[in-house]
């Protein structure tokens, strides 16, 4: 299968701070342009990277992982669409996809610009003059300097002190929970679409019309869902698996 012949890009050793950095690096390694085709091609590598993140439990990473997962759900959608052209995307889904492409483009511009910034930063400095001491300080108070105003000021300072450990904000946790739901419904959504497309496919019942490539596509998709199951979250229900089993039988018939 072609899918297995494509080289596997080594991303696990590198450390990526965010999903866009990882995605762009995967796309650039394959010398692709930023578009849905490129995104569909790198989805598996992307998911296996998240998988490796999950295998190295580090509480500090939980917030970061949530960013990766958010993008993963859009990628799965793009991949599904590329495998199942009959899958009709909703407006929201289309927006998510074009939004991801835009963000990647933006990120790419900044990443390239930051290379120039890095090479110029501190290379030739326009120095400030040293501190001046033109004349001796002359005591010039302000009526605002009183014990009570100083107490107010220090309290305001204390209120804004950096927190000891940046705790995972509640919002972040809620986001992670939502991703369970997002991927869950995404799986159901895509599987429904697959069954429908299979029905169309079976209706023709003509060996000539049975497109091997299409079968191959479905198998790949299953393999990908498997990755999702193992790698991200255990979202796929048994009932859903049975649906897929049906599809598999058809695949055997086709051969």
């Amino acid at each position: 299968m072609d899918e297995n012949n494509t080289p596997i890009y080594e991303v696990k050793s590198a450390v990526f701070e965010g999903p866009l950095e990882l995605l762009l690096s995967l796309i650039e390694q394959r010398k692709l342009f930023v578009n849905d085709i490129a995104l569909a091609q790198v989805t598996d590598d992307y998911i296996s990277y998240i998988k490796s993140l999950n295998n190295t439990p580090n509480e500090k990473h939980i917030a970061d992982v949530s960013y990766f997962i958010l993008v993963a759900s859009t990628l799965i959608l793009i991949k599904s669409k590329s495998l199942l052209p009959s899958l009709t995307l909703t407006e929201d889904e289309k927006d998510n996809i074009s939004d991801l492409e835009r963000r990647l483009e933006l990120y790419k511009i900044i990443k390239n610009a930051s290379i120039d910034i890095k090479s110029n930063f501190g290379a030739k400095i326009i120095f400030r003059p040293l501190e001046r001491s033109w004349s001796d300080p002359f005591f010039s108070p302000d009526d605002m300097i009183t014990i009570s105003s100083m107490e107010l000021s220090i309290n305001s300072v204390l209120a804004n002190l950096p927190k000891k450990e940046e705790k995972l904000p509640e919002v972040e946790i809620r986001k992670i929970i939502n991703i369970d739901e997002v991927i869950n419904s995404l799986t159901v959504r895509i599987q429904n679409a697959m069954n429908i497309s299979f029905r169309d496919f079976a209706k023709s019942h003509n060996a000539q019309d049975i497109n091997e490539a299409r079968v191959h596509v479905i198998v790949s998709f299953l393999a990908m869902l498997e990755l999702v199951r193992e790698g991200i979250i255990d979202v796929i229900q048994n009932a859903s698996f049975e649906d897929i089993q049906i599809n598999k039988q058809v695949e055997e018939k086709a051969q």
């Binding site: 701070e17 960013y67 511009i109 110029n120 400095i125 326009i126 400030r128 040293l130 940046e166």
Partner: protein
């Protein structure tokens, strides 16, 4: 004495950035007169040991970038030039898109930037100002120190400034239509 020279003396005395409004107020002239005189002073100082740095509506005098190695050799305190990849990206966004909200930075980088922003603030490489259009949020801008570290006398001397901004602007406009 000409206005140009008075401004030179004033900036020399201050040794830090001064807003054009403040200069006008102290010298009892209009801001447009100040701007005109600054343009002349800029010419006078060309190829000299001193140069004007412009940012937003403020100016300061610095030592010409060609003297950078000399000044560095006589400085006592060490300078940290190191910037992590994340700091560099964040700083680049703020340099090319001066006056940018944290949400926009997070959007472009795809991760939460609050820790990096705090770090850059403490290092004096960026500043945080309330957004005039929406006082509940803040906008981030580069500081004069960033310009001096980059060896540029104004933001538009940054590498490919117009180009990068156009690219960002284009994509960001699409985004605005989109939302």
């Amino acid at each position: 004495m000409e206005l140009e020279s008075k401004i030179e003396g004033l900036l020399f005395y201050k040794g830090e950035d001064v807003s054009i409004n403040k200069i006008a107020e102290l010298l009892k002239v209009s801001t447009s007169e100040v701007k005109e005189a600054l343009a002349k002073l800029d010419q006078t100082l060309a190829s000299r040991g001193v140069t004007i740095i412009y940012k937003d509506d403020s100016v300061m005098l610095g030592i010409s970038r060609d003297l950078s190695p000399l000044i560095e050799s006589i400085r006592k305190d060490e300078m940290t030039r190191e910037l992590s990849k994340a700091s560099l990206e964040t700083l680049s966004i703020i340099l090319y898109k001066s006056g940018v909200a944290r949400s926009e930075i997070d959007y472009i980088r795809g991760v939460n930037s609050s820790f990096i922003l705090r770090n850059l603030l403490v290092r004096g490489l960026i500043e945080k100002l309330p957004d005039e259009k929406d006082t509940r949020r803040f906008l981030y801008k580069p500081t004069f120190d960033t310009l001096s570290f980059m060896g540029v006398t104004s933001l538009d001397e940054l590498p490919n400034y117009i180009d990068v901004r156009a690219q960002l602007g284009l994509v960001i406009n699409q985004d605005e239509n989109h939302d």
